[in-house]
Amino acid sequence: MPTLKIDGLDVTVEPGTTVLEAAQFLGLEIPTLCHMDGLEPYGGCRLCLVEVGSGDKSRLVTSCTYPAEDGLTVRTNSKRVLRSRKMMVELLLSVCPSSRTIQDLASLMGVQKVRFKTRNDDCILCGRCVRMCKEQMDAGAIGFVNRGHKRKITTPFNMKSEVCRTCGGCIYVCPACNLRCQGPNAPGDVCGSCLSLQPTCTERFDDYMCYLGPTGNCGTCIKKEEN
């Protein structure tokens, strides 16, 4: 039974557990995107980066694929980890600026703007759909083809696959092709206002509350009243 130290807390886990699972067992939050319960770990989005080891020998690893070893020291919220995660989410956002999942992650990490050229793709190659199709649906109809900047997810020979049952599982798990928040911001903007916890609707209207959360910062409700 490996015993490891995560953020100063000792935890003993079953052999074969990943660092991510151990951290989640302790209630520590690590942002994830390509990880999904029930699917094989992939380690593609690099959002679950944690710092393993101490001093000069510490390095960044993806917690979703790293096995919990005996005597491991893990830091999930060090300066280096936070900086790297911020960069990763900024890069993801530049590929897929209109995905709500990525926008939410960006707001969570305090990313306010994207310094890179936005591409407006609808895929971040996280491989969730590929694993879903193979592992849960037992079909294996889609997968990665080509490589480098031409890499994409498609069916064999770009034709309708014979093994696809159009179950829709791939679309269900996709974090990139969901719609962005329908706030007042222009597409591609990172507003992040849903995550600041200051309700403004109640200041303006006595009992006007957003059903999505405690806030009304997005401004859609205010606009409606003015019209």
Partner: protein, 173 residues
């Protein structure tokens, strides 16, 4: 007994050449890439049908095989022309005018890199180094290496190939 449901993978029976290749590796899935190489050697490209049959024989999802075939540049999924023209665009060949050679062939044969002429005679492809930088710019045609190529000699090589072919066909006819 009569089969009630048609098989999900209803393909043409694989031909004997294909069968020998699969048997050579005793239909082991870890020998997949070797099989693909042998299939390409036999048919000069990877026909869609052979990939489908391979997926059947090895019980590997077709997308996995297709993914491998598209991942490696040495695998071709389209039927190449009778003659394969490979122009080197590596650094040494590049500075010595490799791109000009590629452009010249494109212009003369009306074919873009990675494509085949309409009559199916020539295929043009570009590579990033052939390892013989000293004789650059390099052109490889059907495995034969031509060094220190100029736009003029390209025309001569193509003319010579056409002449040889006509001669051969003349003898055959």
């Amino acid at each position: 007994m009569k089969k009630l449901l048609p098989s999900a993978n209803n393909h043409k029976p694989p031909n004997s050449k294909f069968k020998t290749i699969v048997d050579r590796y005793s239909a082991k899935r870890e020998k997949l890439i070797s099989m693909l190489h042998d299939i390409q050697e036999e048919f000069r490209y990877l026909p869609e049908e052979s990939l489908r049959s391979l997926s059947n024989e090895l019980s590997v999802p077709l997308i996995k095989i297709y993914g491998i075939a598209t991942f490696y540049k040495s695998f071709r999924l389209k039927r190449p022309g009778r003659h394969m023209l490979t122009v080197c665009l590596g650094t040494a060949c590049h500075v010595r005018g490799g791109p000009r050679i590629a452009d010249e062939i494109s212009r003369v044969l009306d074919v873009k890199p990675g494509e085949t002429t309409k009559d199916g005679e020539y295929s043009l492809e570009t590579v990033n180094c052939l390892g013989c930088c000293a004789i650059g710019p390099v052109l490889v045609m059907d495995g034969k290496i031509f060094g220190q190529i100029t736009t003029k000699s390209v025309k001569n090589i193509l003319k010579q190939t056409d002449k040889d072919r006509n001669k051969k066909e003349g003898v055959a006819g």
